[in-house]
Point group: C2
Chain length 436, copies 2
């Protein structure tokens, strides 16, 4: 007999609601001093001793027996072999997912643009891909082939010439499905290294590992801390917090579906957050009953329970307008609009990583194969950041090509501005271009 | 009698050239432990004591006599007053610059997009502006009205509802031109506070200062360190290194013009970097002669000399193709192509913040009024990042709206993928949507 779940219930009409909600959402990832120190030492080791240090750290931390860097390199042929080894259903699912992700991301590709002014001056931006991207893939339990697709495909669509993947193999354990995904996604080279040492190797390069321009992909606290430290030397993607879902329901969806959607977030880990918002108190009761009914049937029941009891909530609101206000306050990574007419609410949503619209659009569909990226801003950062995309693997150079006449006119304005800032060399450089 | 300048000369044919170039470019900004500790204390002070702490820090660090936060707030009316006070020529220059910057940035605005698949499934992205942006403007010497335009206008073009500016006023000194620029750029509110305390106030909010979603703008090491620490709580722009220019010349531009273009970078500060690359050794001599001739006439001669001698170089290459290779290695913030047909070389340039094309396009024109942004990636980060733009004040939410048929099909693929990752709740959530 399992104890019923102790699920937090909030009501937006409660005068203390804002404070309770703030408390529920509060999350700060902390890299403590010990982790920082350890990571800085590892980065220094890689920078000064390259491959030798990388091999040593890998032997020590991952318990592998490799005696040379050559043993830590997987060529494309090995990835192809993995693709051949996995069951046909998985091969098919990988191929379908990859193709849909590719088609969606093709639409994100930015192009160079220019325009010409009356005096012949040309202005614009040249858009180019990064030369080389590094993709961090966690080893062990959290090795997700879908993450390989979601991180590598946008880089390839952007035109990145070389995508280098690193993945640790604790005690030599390789995940064939991850390698198969790397094959499908077009990853060029794989190094079986991980941790802060892999991040440092990608950022600074070693004799074997090529230096990259940007590092993307999730990892543990050592990986996240290392990414923070190498930022500036290379680009990085977001530092992700725990995954979250906010389901807004009008009370008309099958409560079992909603319960399972909440579970699909909660099963990631104990810190994951699943929140349901609904104007109908009876429906909140029904979902809670579904949760209690379904929980014992779940393989990851202990994780789901810990997550729901620790960070989950059922929130009652007065109406759908208030639900939108709550959604914007949360700025959730995943927002499920399980309502009759989701389009109607879209203009009111200002902050969300991804919006799953209608009763049929389970978040899980978007996690794998709908097409949009599953790397999304967490912990309220959707207020200012976006899903991973092709635009993260492209960059822009401003273009300015002044005609003689244009430079002469602009020179007059620039001269006044520069002298107003006491930058005389700027002023004189501009004045040289003024025609008498 | 001034000593001739001791300017570094490099030759790309030298077998040690790559090493010399690496050494010349090496730059690492270091926030030492003392600065980190100080900044963390200040952030904690603002978070726990709000306005009271902000007022105290401002009194202490900026030497101002204000006794209440109300004295540290400038309304729009005060900005308008500043605009009325400055000379007509400056009013005119600000208006022209602002209008050109606005027109250029309008072209960067991203729009929402969707597409519909055969089964009725809709995919896309909704693009929305940030709610509120914070703009840091340094006080004292480095207070540049042009930076106010370059940071605030893209935010306003993006549709950011409120742009809040902070600017310290050491010993109460206000820069009227900066306030006038804030007026022209559409800044909504100004607080006369600065340093790490201003960054913390914008990131976390106080009783008077509203919490923002992103903080942009340059600052000293305390400001930069504070921005690094609050990243995640809010978005930040790049952490800028010293400014740099790479001039590539075919040897046919007036050497005085090139010398002054190099000066215009060098005059910023001793750490600024000015490099000239040319296939013609005689032209390098001519520019060096121009430098020695013009240097004594410059108001900031000591800074220019220190910058050129410490970090500048004249680089001889075998031909223009090699010049492009050097340019890509440097990935300069500013690249001036002072050549006959700059368009010809554009396809070979992979990394640069902004490209100034042709003999008439002095960098100074782009710094003020050509239209493109002057906030550009420094220290080689043009390999992976872009000029500040409207896109920095917009964010995207993925849109997924599956039809019943679409969800059923996708559910099959998602189920296989999820079970391959041992995420059973994901699989079951997807499977609920499969129609029999």
């Amino acid at each position: 007999m399992t104890a019923p779940i102790a699920l937090r219930r909030l009501n937006a009409a409660d005068p203390d609601f804002a404070r309770h909600l703030d408390h529920l959402l509060s999350w700060e990832s902390v890299s403590d001093d010990a982790v920082n120190q350890r990571v800085l030492e590892i980065i220094q080791g890689i920078r000064s001793r390259g491959d030798a240090a990388l091999l040593e750290y890998t032997q020590r931390f991952d318990g592998v027996t490799a005696t040379s860097m050559a043993e830590l390199i997987l060529p494309r042929a090995r990835l192809e072999q993995a693709f051949g080894r996995i069951p046909e259903a998985q091969r098919q699912a990988l191929a379908v997912s990859a193709e849909r992700i590719r088609l969606y991301h093709e639409r994100q590709k930015q192009s160079s643009w220019t325009y010409t002014e009356a005096d012949g001056t040309v202005l614009g931006q040249q858009v180019t891909p990064l030369d080389r991207a590094g993709l961090y893939v966690p080893g062990g339990k959290a090795a997700y082939p879908s993450s390989v697709l979601m991180n590598a495909i946008p880089a390839k669509v952007a035109g990145v010439a070389e995508v280098v993947m690193v993945v640790p193999t604790p005690r030599g354990e390789l995940n064939e499905l991850v390698l198969a995904a790397a094959y499908v996604a077009g990853v060029d080279r794989v190094f079986t290294v991980g941790g802060a040492q892999a991040v440092a190797a990608l950022a600074y390069g070693t004799e074997s590992v090529p230096q990259v321009d940007k590092i993307v992909g999730p990892g543990n606290i050592y990986v996240a801390t290392a990414k923070r430290h190498v930022f500036g030397q290379v680009g990085i993607d977001m530092i992700a917090g725990p995954s979250e879902i906010l389901v807004v329901c009008d009370g008309q969806t099958n409560p079992d579906w909603i319960a399972m959607d909440l579970f699909s977030q909660a099963e990631h880990d104990e810190d994951a957050q699943s929140i349901l918002v609904c104007p109908d108190a009876a429906f909140l009761d029904a979902v809670e009953a579904s949760i209690n009914k379904l929980l014992p049937t779940m393989e990851r029941a202990p994780i789901i329970r810990a997550s729901l009891e620790g960070r989950g909530a059922l929130v009652q609101v007065s109406d759908m307008n208030q639900a939108m206000t709550v959604a914007n306050r949360i700025a959730p990574e995943h927002l499920e609009l399980s309502v009759a007419d989701p389009q109607q609410w879209l203009p009111q949503i200002r902050h969300a990583g991804a919006i799953f619209m209608g009763r049929y659009t389970a978040e899980a569909l978007g996690d794998y194969c709908a097409g949009p990226n599953h790397v999304l801003p967490t912990s309220g950062t959707a207020r200012f950041s976006s899903p991973l995309g092709v635009y993260d693997f492209q960059k822009r150079s401003s273009l300015i090509f002044c005609s003689a006449e244009g430079a002469s006119e602009l020179g007059k304005t620039a001269s006044v501005m520069a002298r107003g800032e006491s930058l005389t060399a700027h002023a004189r450089s501009a004045e040289y271009r003024i025609q008498d």
